[in-house]
Amino acid sequence: MTRKAVIAAFGAALAIFAGLSFYRSRHLREPVVPGPSVSRVAHLGDYFGPIKGTVNDVNVYVLEGKEPGGTILLLGGTHPEEPAGRLAAWIFAENAKIAKGRIFVILTANRSASTVTRLGGAYPPDFTIPTAWGGQKFRMGDRWSNPLDQWPDPEVYLHYPTRQELAYVDIRNLNRAFPGRPNGTLTEKTCYAITELVRREKVDIAIDFHEAELQYPVISTIVAHQKGADLAAAASMFISSVEGFAIGVENSPKALRGLSHREIGDATDAISLLLEAPEPFLDATRGRTDRKLLLTGKDDFVVRAGKRGLLFEKIDEKGWPIDIRVGRHTSTVLQILEIWSGDNPAKAVVLSGVPRYTDIVRDGVGAYLKDPKTIDPAKLFYE
């Protein structure tokens, strides 16, 4: 009996250790210091009641200029396992000074997916961006909503409303469930709420930040709905000539449903664009899946795959550091806004304070994250 008690105590200790680790990871609070132009922080539930109070009733940071102009939506965290997207959105929310127009920023579009890591993927639970004030910790996250929040998956996932058959697991993928369904799953309701935000706020351009594995053909590119093809092409040309990196343009396929670049553009008046940066961490041929790989993008196995011609993006021993990936996103948005504002003066969005690619590569992402200890705790927000 004593032996059984000892073994049971050993099991209980293991369960408590593991349980605490999962609980802390799921409930890690990420502070956000609202930037100088944040006029209010709304919630996604304000645009669609049934989302209110759920894990995906996320913050919507509203940045407004003194002069009226156009309206932009920036979506970070559609896939939280692609952290450059969240960090780029973070930099806009904490730094942008808007002179004209409005920017709505969502840092964690699928918060549920940010509370779990890929099952069997051996992902780290979190990562830390070094800063002058010590560093800021972020949840790692996954591509799909947490099964604790939405389960079971169906045998076959039929996209709403087109009824296109998609991979069963993608019923928990925010970027396969647009434009959303008001009486659907949590993921579909979240998409519906975002689409409602775009409609009600009369968003002119919705930009969804992503990262992709180097073995995926849609990479280092702007995926553009046909309404935004010219804008994306012009941005690509300017970026490639003045920003210090190259980015392509892909047309949003009309036959592939559920993606933000297709569905937001079809369902609303907004131009929908999706930005992809390279993330070797996601490649199937990667080696150890740890925080270092996530932040440096250095991996010998992925480099070897590149030497065998198996990749759609270049990689060498320097990898794809997080600073480069985030900088690509901020510069791409800034170029898009500059071109848009030049072509549409009445709907211009003019801003300053957001670092470009060269700034972030030089200073690091951490230089543009604000120290939460420097402001009144009552004014902080948490993701």
Partner: protein, 51 residues
């Protein structure tokens, strides 16, 4: 429908957890006892909605 399936799933999880505890209590070999306890952990974490 999803809610019903989810409830059934948690009932099944609880049932398997009870079977594992029962086997742990009945067993005489310490190696098997350790095995039952380790296998039990993910079931407990799921019932507590921690993983």
């Amino acid at each position: 429908m999803n809610t019903i399936v989810t409830i059934l799933y948690y009932l099944l999880t609880a049932y398997v957890a009870v079977l594992l505890v029962a086997n742990f209590l009945k067993n005489k070999k310490w190696q098997d006892e350790v095995l039952y306890i380790i296998v039990l952990i993910p079931f407990v974490l799921r019932l507590l909605r921690l993983k």
